[in-house]
Amino acid sequence: MDFDGTEVQQAVAASARKFAVERAEPAAAEADRRARFPEELVRELGQLGLLAVNVPSAFGGSEAGAVAYALAVMEVARADCSLAVTMAVTNMVGETIVRFGTEEQKARCLPRLASGEWLAGSFGLSEPQAGSDPNSMSTRADLRDGRWVLNGTKQWITSGDRAGVLIVWARTDVEAGNRGITAFLVEGGTPGLVVGRHEEKMGIRSSSTVSLTFEDCAVPASAVLGEVGHGLRVALAALDGGRIGIASQATGTIRAALDASTRYARERRAFGKPIAEFQAIAFALADMRTAHDAARLMTLRAAALKEAGRPFGQEAAMAKLIASEAAQAATSKAVQIHGGYGYIDEFPVERLFRDARVQTIYEGTSEIQRLVIARHILSRGD
């Protein structure tokens, strides 16, 4: 048993923390206000090795493991949730290529994702009418003259307009149901890949979210990621890891809410003393801290299991569920502690409150996490 982490894990966390405090934090409020994608900061993440934390060094990654990755996302999210999700999705795409890609795919994509030469990787699974239920997907890919031709629309695609490479799921066999879905690597700028509307979001505003339309978008046969018909397996494996990323983001969000609230409660006075001296406020801080630690431990445990090569799907779902739900409560409480100042953009907590809201929705809603957990616990023999 070890809760401290290895030297490498601590070093990655420290490096992410330094970047978060010095670079991300000062820019976060303005980037949010203008919904501006922080290109420069993303490139810096690449230079620090934080866009491919759990990718082998042979492909340009940091090869620091899943725990170090979780710690890094927590630190970046503590400063800027938007940047954290941009970072998390690129890492998830990289890891998915590591796991399912051919040598050629790995050699082409991973160094560019890791370095930030490609600003982002994207994950194209959701559609306007198919989110948690990929079986109702309608994007299709047809084999014509040895090339796969994609047609359809994907929705809510993080960094979809910035991505050097996108993993896109499409139906390759209409008859085969779940077994008829295939994952493809589509490079940004491929003819027929049309970037649609930039979503105007309530939170994580400096991350980019777009819809994508595929209009006879042709990719070579070598663009298939994994095997034809095995796309769902690729998606589910990616999402298990992705949930660790969002759980980490939510944990960082809770921490930021606690930090801001603690600072404010020490300074703000009412009835002749700092409001931190009132139990109504102090106990809220205690609850935030407890929720933070629970979320953090659940997230790190899932990451540690993943790193050890053990099953972690249930643990990742639990971590994502508890961390994202706790983030709702913590950010709302942080606004409450700030009173009127919590409702305006002079303080960071209104942004945290908006940023947190998506965490119970994306990469599997809380309802989907509960389904995953229930399936695990009810299928057991006991």
Binding site: A303, L305, R370
Partner: protein, 380 residues
């Protein structure tokens, strides 16, 4: 980062789980109904080394680490929460402070037989008009030559009716506030020490608690644990460990309720299918399982920190706060899953729910845990 039990810790869990399934679970309902102290089970716990888990073997204990203790507390309490608290008090609140603060002679006389489980210890801090606020303590010990004369009343003392020795806190210098309290080892046989009949409690009814009366009890100086004026320090450090025990107890109660809810839901049918097919039930079970895991990790972390000898007050408080409040939620949901059957004594979940309630109160209420945690947050 490695958040898994070691092989040895896993073995402890397995051993305790088997014992709980064979010796505790089948009897817990009866002990609860009859308010009966499980003397046989406690004797067997002693044989397994569970009455002095983290005390070194040369002092009568099992020489295991505190993570093992936390795991054992969960498993024993999963079988019977009353038995769990008997074990927790002897381990955390009695043996632990004597191991930490006792002289060689005190360890020989007051620790060895208790760590072996041949005798039972108790911890007496709470009084009728002071619980969490130890500065309001009324019990006094007045020094006369080489002796102290103890007067006062302690109540809600778990293991009080059975204890062979009680660790009692008393004011030795009123003018010095917290620093004016001292701890004393008081044998049950001394003149002037009497006990009330056992309390009639909502839950944990297999364990006994009562009020202790001290009337001109004369104690030799060598019965004082720690220095004069160190009572508060002894009590606070002891409670850091005690909270690990109670967090383990709460976790075990919740785990039992959860397992019973899953088993019941798999069998019970409604509207033509097992109720596990309904999301309303599935999602309750998913939330229960998730919160139980979170409590377990908070607990393991606190115990692991204690094993490493680092300050763990806030971490123990978080484990205890979260585990106990989680326990009340989970046991309540377990009743809900059982419907009407959850409300009758034919099933165990009503007992788990009653047992859960005390975990938010003793060894520091939830409010005291929040004070400890908030102080840590605001200091940092």
């Amino acid at each position: 980062m490695d958040i898994q039990l070691t092989e040895e810790q896993r073995q402890v869990r397995e051993l305790c789980r088997q014992f709980a399934d064979s010796e505790l679970r089948p009897n817990a309902r009866k002990w609860d109904l009859d308010h009966q102290f499980p003397a046989d089970a406690v004797r067997k716990l002693a044989e397994m080394g569970l009455m002095g888990v983290a005390i070194p073997p040369e002092l009568g204990g099992a020489g295991m680490d505190n993570v093992s203790y936390a795991v054992a507390m969960e498993e024993i309490s999963r079988g019977c929460a009353g038995t769990g608290v008997i074990m927790s008090v002897n381990n955390s609140l009695y043996c632990d402070p004597i191991y930490k603060f006792g002289t060689e002679e005190q360890k020989r006389d007051f620790l060895v037989p208790f760590a072996r489980g041949e005798r039972l210890g108790a911890f007496a801090l709470t009084e009728p008009t002071s619980g969490s606020d130890a500065a309001e303590m009324r019990t006094v010990a007045v020094k006369k030559g080489n002796e102290y004369v103890l007067n006062g009343t302690k109540n809600f003392i778990t293991n009080g009716p059975q204890a062979d020795v009680v660790l009692v806190f008393a004011v030795t210098d009123r003018s010095r506030g917290h620093k004016g309290t001292s701890a004393f080892l008081v044998p049950g046989s001394v003149k002037g020490f009497t006990r009330s009949k056992a309390d009639d409690k909502v839950g944990i009814r297999a364990s006994g608690s009562c009020t202790l009366f001290f009337e001109d009890v004369v104690l030799p100086e060598r019965f004082r644990l720690g220095g004069e004026g160190e009572g508060f320090k002894v009590a606070m450090q002891t409670l850091d460990g005690g909270r690990i025990g109670i967090a383990g107890q709460a976790l075990g109660i919740a785990q039992a309720a959860y397992e019973e809810a899953v088993a019941y839901a798999k069998e019970r049918k409604a509207f033509g299918q097992p109720i596990t097919q309904f999301q309303a039930i599935q999602f309750m079970l998913a939330d229960m399982a998730t919160e139980i895991e979170a409590a377990r990790l908070l607990l393991w972390r606190a115990a692991w920190m204690k094993d490493r000898g680092v300050r763990h007050s806030a971490e123990s408080a978080m484990a205890k706060l979260y585990a106990s409040e989680m326990c009340e939620r989970v046991t309540s949901k377990a009743i809900q899953v059982h419907g009407g059957y959850g409300y009758v004594k034919e099933y165990d979940v009503e007992r788990h729910w009653r047992d859960s309630r005390i975990t938010e109160i003793y060894e520091g209420t939830s409010e005291i845990q929040r004070l400890v945690i908030a102080a840590n947050v605001l200091k940092g």
